[in-house]
């Protein structure tokens, strides 16, 4: 089946930043995104878990966005601006899709 190359952007960041990251993604005119939960983790200095937490202050969350290679630079620019002072990072990887027009 014919497939077309796109980029998958994974943004992992602190949950309180959610609204800001989403605003940036919309500015970058991505066709969509999906938010996926993270339930625990460890970084450079300490580990955390979502269990028993009553606020989102100490949680990380992940946003996946499938997008065209042409939009990646814009997207990185705006998203990195939002997480520059905060805990968070971005990975970019290659994926193929079947219906390229929707991304």
């Amino acid at each position: 089946m014919k497939t077309y190359p796109k980029k998958r952007i994974d943004i992992i960041f602190e949950a309180p930043l959610m609204q800001r990251i989403i605003d940036r993604l919309e500015q970058a005119k991505v066709s969509g995104y999906s938010v996926m939960p993270i339930i625990a983790g460890r970084g450079h200095d300490s580990s955390w878990t979502a269990d028993g937490q009553i606020s989102n202050a100490t949680k990380m969350v992940s946003i996946v966005c499938i997008t065209d290679a042409s939009k990646v630079d814009d997207l990185l620019d705006s998203v990195l601006g939002a997480i520059s002072n905060q805990i968070g990072f971005v990975t970019i990887s290659d994926v193929s899709v079947v219906r390229p027009e929707r991304f």
């Binding site: 309180p16 930043l17 609204q19 300490s46 269990d51 028993g52 009553i54 202050a57 100490t58 002072n85």
Partner: protein, 323 residues
């Protein structure tokens, strides 16, 4: 007084908190699912809000109410400046971390509020229902104070206090449910209370035990992670600052002429430190601050201190200074 402290110490609530702490220290896998922890917090806020409102419906609005809300706002705004100065003098925390911690101590802990009112009920000491509104009013001024401090001390960031941020703070879920339930309690009064009593009053101690079990687990795990950041002077701050905040509140309570019970509650509010509303706000406003410091202090040291020693002390003091 020692009696009272001891009695509080052996209440099921305190013991469930201790059980959570112990389980965390023993690395038990006991845990409360996140969704349940959020339900318990929602329930506690709804219940105390509604009860406060229903009592205000009963007793009506008074000048004292307005004065006490004003005092609460003042305390919440002023305490961070004191806390910041104290931290910078006595500890080696940097300005940003100190500002973030200061914000937590200006704001209040709903569960400590619940704990003091619980002890007052056991002792048959009455307090005013409107103190729930005071608690709600004290949640946010501290956040703005912390921002002002951080602005003065550090370079401003673009992620600071703009319109969006202010809306996020003002319509924070915990404030909306506390004030909303307060309003609904005030509107529906005793008839609303009659319908909801089994849920709002009768279930309360049980849900509180579960919640404190969870808080014990979270505090215990937080302490294990966070103790590294906590020097002796920083830990001392977490015990001295409640006493300073409580003293200020005591002074204002005398001025306003609050009853014994209400004085004890206002002191406890001032002496408590937030771990629901403020931490997330600080992540947005002061991203460079290390969140583990403030949470370890407020949930791991100040909360247990207040639960075990502070509350009996504040009630004893209130008994002397109020009439």
């Amino acid at each position: 007084m020692t009696d009272l402290a001891f009695q509080n110490l052996l209440s099921p609530m305190v013991l469930f908190f201790a059980l959570g702490l112990l389980a965390a220290f023993a690395r038990s896998d006991l845990s409360v699912p996140e969704a349940i922890a959020k339900l318990l917090a929602l329930y506690l806020l709804l219940s105390i809000g509604f009860r406060g409102g229903a009592e205000v419906a009963h007793h009506g609005l008074t000048v004292q109410l307005v004065a006490t809300v004003g005092a609460g706002i003042l305390l919440s705004f002023v305490i961070p400046f004191i806390a910041f100065a104290l931290l910078r003098k006595t500890t080696s925390l940097n300005a940003t971390d100190a500002a973030a911690v200061a914000g937590h101590y200006g704001s209040i802990s709903a569960v400590t509020f619940v704990a003091v009112t619980g002890v007052l009920v056991q002792l048959s000491i009455t307090y005013d229902g409107y103190l729930v509104a005071v608690a709600a009013a004290m949640e946010t001024p501290a956040i703005f104070a912390a921002l002002l401090i951080a602005r003065r001390m550090t370079a401003p960031t673009d992620s600071g206090a703009n319109g969006d941020f202010i809306r996020e703070i003002a319509f924070n879920g915990s404030i909306v449910i506390l004030l909303g339930a307060f309003g609904i309690g005030a509107i529906t009064g005793q008839s609303g209370m009659k319908i909801l009593k089994p849920f709002i009053l009768d279930m309360f101690p049980g849900f509180l035990c579960l919640f404190l079990l969870d808080m014990g687990l979270v505090a215990g795990r937080g302490l294990k992670q966070g103790w590294r950041y906590i020097s002796v002077p920083v830990a001392a701050f977490a015990i001295i600052m409640p006493l300073i905040g409580g003293a200020l509140a005591a002074a204002l309570a005398i001025l306003i002429g609050l009853s014994v019970g209400s004085t004890a509650v206002l002191i406890t509010l001032a002496a408590s430190a937030s771990y629901i509303a403020v931490p997330a706000a600080m992540r947005l406003a002061l991203p460079a601050a290390n969140p583990a410091i403030a949470l370890t202090l407020s949930l791991g040291i100040t909360f247990p201190f207040n639960l075990l020693i502070g509350i009996p002390l504040y009630i004893a003091v209130a008994g002397r200074i109020a009439h």
